[in-house]
């Protein structure tokens, strides 16, 4: 039986005291332990940013890649070895600014991985600049007169782009977050979990208290049905995106792997990794014959 402790290494995070990311890290460890995934069968892939250092903070296979490109990398890992559990994690700058092109395509591609974004509405590693999720009026070093670009409505964007599992949580609500990560990892397809994770150093506006005050749990919305796409979008609109819980899921759409297996005669995940071998001689002869 795997425990969260099995995922502890001896690296001290470079996060500030009070940073929300500690809670997200703990929730991921709790979730993978609860699912009894052993460290060698997990890969945590991250990009660049404070939160993206998380790839190195678990005792597992961690890959800390380039800024905004963790998702393509994570999808490659999963498609190469479908036996692995792949969690991709990072911040809102990594995910929704430099990496947004990949994020949208990951929503629509539906590879069976889990993407956890630690959303604090600000750039921390570069010491306080505006992010695609910053509120209008948010003052930072790069928005001294207040941010005037619209904050990206990410959950609506995810649903509109074809995401099949969209959830949002607040790292303070550990039990809910652990449960959502578990559900996401068990979902057959791409699961996206946006987690509010306050930055105590560079975002004094969206503080712990601010989130507590502004977030609405979907469990309090009467008759909420996460398989109802229209209701999901309406509810997000009504609350300016500030809801927590499972927002939307669609179990009818096959994952990329399943759809691909239907056309390539798969699945061959294990074989791809452990069988880097010459193709069958007859198959190869057939391929060559077409050029003769």
């Amino acid at each position: 039986m795997t425990t969260a402790n099995d995922y502890r290494n001896d690296i001290r995070p470079n996060w500030c005291p009070g940073c929300g990311h500690y809670g997200v890290q703990a929730a991921i460890a709790d979730a993978v332990a609860a699912l009894d995934i052993s460290p060698e069968n997990l890969a945590v892939i991250s990009g660049i940013g404070c939160s993206s250092r998380i790839g190195g903070y678990f005792y597992t296979y961690g890959a800390h890649t380039t800024h905004g490109r963790a998702l393509p990398y994570a999808q490659g890992v999963k498609l190469a070895n479908q036996d692995l559990n792949v969690v991709c994690a990072g911040g809102d700058g990594d995910a929704f600014a430099i990496g947004m092109g990949h994020t949208i395509h990951a929503f629509k591609r539906n590879v069976n991985i889990t993407y956890i974004v630690m959303d604090n509405h600000v750039y921390g590693l570069t010491k306080g600049q505006t992010s695609p999720r910053s509120d209008i009026g948010f003052v930072t070093k790069t928005s001294p007169h207040g941010s005037f670009e619209s904050p990206l409505p990410i959950c609506e964007t995810a649903i509109a782009s074809g995401a099949t599992f969209v959830a949002q949580s607040y790292m303070v609500n550990r039990a809910e977050l652990v449960e959502l990560i578990k559900q996401g990892m068990q979902h057959e397809g791409f699961s996206f979990i946006n987690v509010f994770s306050p930055c105590v150093t560079y975002n004094k506006r969206n503080s712990y208290d601010w989130f507590k005050e502004h977030l609405t749990s979907l469990s309090t919305v009467e008759g909420y049905d996460p398989t109802n796409r229209v209701q999901a979008l309406q509810t997000l609109g009504a609350h300016e995106g500030l809801v927590t819980g499972l927002i939307y899921r669609d179990d009818t759409k096959p994952s990329f792997e399943k759809a691909m297996a239907a056309v390539n005669g798969g699945p061959h995940p294990r074989a791809l990794v452990h069988d880097v071998v010459k193709p069958n001689a007859d198959v190869f002869a057939d391929l060559c014959k077409e050029f003769k």
Partner: protein, 583 residues
């Protein structure tokens, strides 16, 4: 009747008129008969329409260029006559569709035969404009003096799936075309090629050879983004996905293509991507990480004319500097260029091996001329290049690992190449990062660690040139008047030029470089020192390859450059002229 060594046939018209398929039918049959073939398709960078030509050189000996003077030009429009008529050799033929009332006045008095024949009309007689290329095929077979039988068989087979009626109509179109030429050529003698020994050959694009090479290397994982002139590689892999059990992803851009393939590589497959110059630029940051994280990533760059969008359908070898240096930092990688379409198959497999043996990105760079043109090659041997995965560990051989220790994936070993594990291996846990790291992959910024790990990554490459044939050695002389060095598709033109110069009594050595980085200084030195003159042929304006010699060769000497950057491939006469200038 005169016997010749080769024929050059060219057909031209508007894109979409079946010009290529006419040439293809001819080539497929002749390849079976044992002729050596080289084809060249020239087309405008347009979606549909525009002037296009398909040239086919048919020879008895192996060839690697399409040659220069045309024997037979088949024109479906006046533009073809105007643009290519002057390429026809003395005693050659131009046949143009009488439908366009061709103007041959330009060739009045020229020693060539110009015929206006009813190509369109003959096709329409059989009921369809589509048969123009079959009429043209019949004409061409008559002009070239080949036996009709295998062509009739091939036409019947090609249309057998449709209906007997269609087969008959196409055969009639073929026979009518054939008869028209014989009836109208007058007393002009038709020359023929001797019939060769049948050979086991394939006739294919360099891009198809690349895809087969990747498959033969055990790669069944590709992520790519469409780009001219490289898309055929991904298209082929996707077409054969079910047959070979491959996973191929068309990603949202080249950065994602590179990163997705690298994710696969990290997970243990032989992932690769295929692109051209603009895509290679986008991959620069990812490749820098592959160098830092020591990932055996293979990137194919089918080079086209640049900079920027340049001339997307024209050839150049101007990505040499980019392939070696486009990634930031002290970047360790390997750069290889194949010297032929055949090498697109064999050398690519070696590139996959080198990537895993040296745990670094490998840029494999053919050029557009190789990628997009078909050539006959001896049938591929699946087993000539065995798979070598370098220091990839087996799970059962890994010693017990105790938390919080990780496997020393970046162990500072003498040759710089550390043992490698992949996710899923029980005692192989390690951290992978683009940050400077210690032996376990943990971020480490101590000055000594950065120096040690940098040295390790660079030290790895010291033996590449010893473990890989760094160039094709066509040097026959211990001492030579001139050493000619080329890269990529220039090989064919250089070999023909060298043969002519040798016949004229000059001592000419030729090397076609494969390994560009790390530069094979030691291996090149004796050839360099034993030459009176050095000429380097490359298709770019800035003499990128010559500069690499200037930087890497210990001996400072005059290097003559033979450059071409008009978008068209080298010809033997162009190279010969450049060499003669220095002799």
């Amino acid at each position: 009747m005169q016997k010749r060594k080769d024929f050059i046939w060219k057909m031209g018209g508007q894109q979409g008129e079946g010009i290529e398929s006419c040439g293809e039918i001819m080539a497929t049959i002749l390849a079976k008969e044992g002729y050596s073939l080289y084809s060249q398709r020239l087309f405008a960078s347009r979606i549909k329409g525009g002037h296009t030509t398909f040239a086919l050189r048919i020879a008895l000996e192996p060839i690697m260029t399409v040659g220069e003077k045309i024997d037979f030009l088949v024109a479906l429009d006046q533009e073809t006559v105007d643009k290519h008529g002057e390429e026809v050799r003395e005693g050659g033929f131009i046949i143009c569709d009488s439908e366009v009332n061709p103007d041959f006045s330009k060739f009045d008095g020229a020693p060539i035969t110009c015929l206006a024949l009813p190509i369109t009309e003959t096709a329409m007689k059989q009921g369809s404009l589509l048969m123009r290329n079959i009429v043209a095929l019949g004409m061409s077979v008559a002009l070239l003096g080949f036996d009709k039988t295998p062509f009739r068989t091939a036409i019947a087979a090609k249309f057998a799936k449709k209906s007997q009626d269609i087969v008959d109509k196409n055969l009639n179109a073929f026979e009518d075309g054939h008869a028209l030429v014989l009836a109208s050529k007058g007393d002009v003698e038709i020359e023929t090629l001797p019939v060769p020994q049948p050979k086991d050959q394939m006739f294919l694009l360099g891009n198809e050879a690349l895809a087969l090479g990747a498959i033969a290397a055990g790669s069944r994982f590709m992520a790519s983004y469409p780009i001219t002139p490289a898309s055929e590689v991904m298209e082929y892999m996707i077409k054969k996905m079910d047959k070979i059990g491959a996973t191929v992803v068309q990603t949202e851009d080249e950065i994602a293509a590179c990163m997705t393939a690298m994710g696969g590589v990290y997970a243990g497959v032989r992932g690769f991507t295929c692109t051209s110059g603009p895509g290679l630029s986008l991959m620069a940051e990812s490749l820098s990480m592959a160098s830092m994280a020591e990932l055996p990533m293979v990137v194919i760059d089918v080079q086209r004319s640049g900079p920027s969008t340049g001339m997307a359908t024209k050839v150049e070898t101007s990505d040499l500097n980019a392939a070696c240096h486009n990634a930031h930092g002290d970047y360790a990688n390997i750069v290889i260029s194949p010297t032929s379409i055949e090498e697109c198959f064999y050398e690519l497999q070696k590139a996959f091996n080198l990537a895993e043996q040296y745990q670094c990105p490998v840029i494999f760079m053919p050029d557009l001329q190789q990628g997009l043109n078909k050539q006959s090659v001896p049938s591929f041997d699946l087993n000539r290049v065995p798979i070598n995965r370098g220091k990839l560990m087996k799970e059962e051989d890994l010693p017990e690992l105790e938390r919080p220790h990780y496997f020393k994936r970046f162990e500072l070993v003498e040759d710089g190449i550390s043992p490698r594990t992949i996710p899923g291996m029980k005692n192989g846990l390690f951290l992978s990062t683009g940050l400077e790291h210690n032996e376990e992959g943990k971020p480490a910024e101590a000055p000594s660690m950065h120096v040690s790990q940098t040295d390790k990554r660079l030290r790895k490459l010291e033996t590449v040139a010893d473990n890989y044939e760094p160039f094709l050695n066509n040097a026959k002389h211990d001492e030579c008047d001139v050493l000619v060095i080329g890269i990529a598709s220039s090989r064919g033109a250089i070999e023909e030029a060298v043969a002519e110069l040798e016949a004229e009594g000059h001592k000419v050595n030729h090397l076609q470089l494969r390994l560009i980085k790390p530069f094979p200084t030691k291996q090149l030195l004796p050839f360099y020192q034993n030459a009176k003159k050095v000429v380097i042929c490359e298709q770019n304006a800035t003499a990128q390859l010559a500069d690499m010699f200037r930087i890497n060769m210990p001996e400072k000497r005059k290097i003559h450059s033979c450059l071409k950057y008009d978008g068209n491939p080298f010809t033997a006469s162009y190279v010969k002229k450049a060499i003669k200038e220095v002799l």
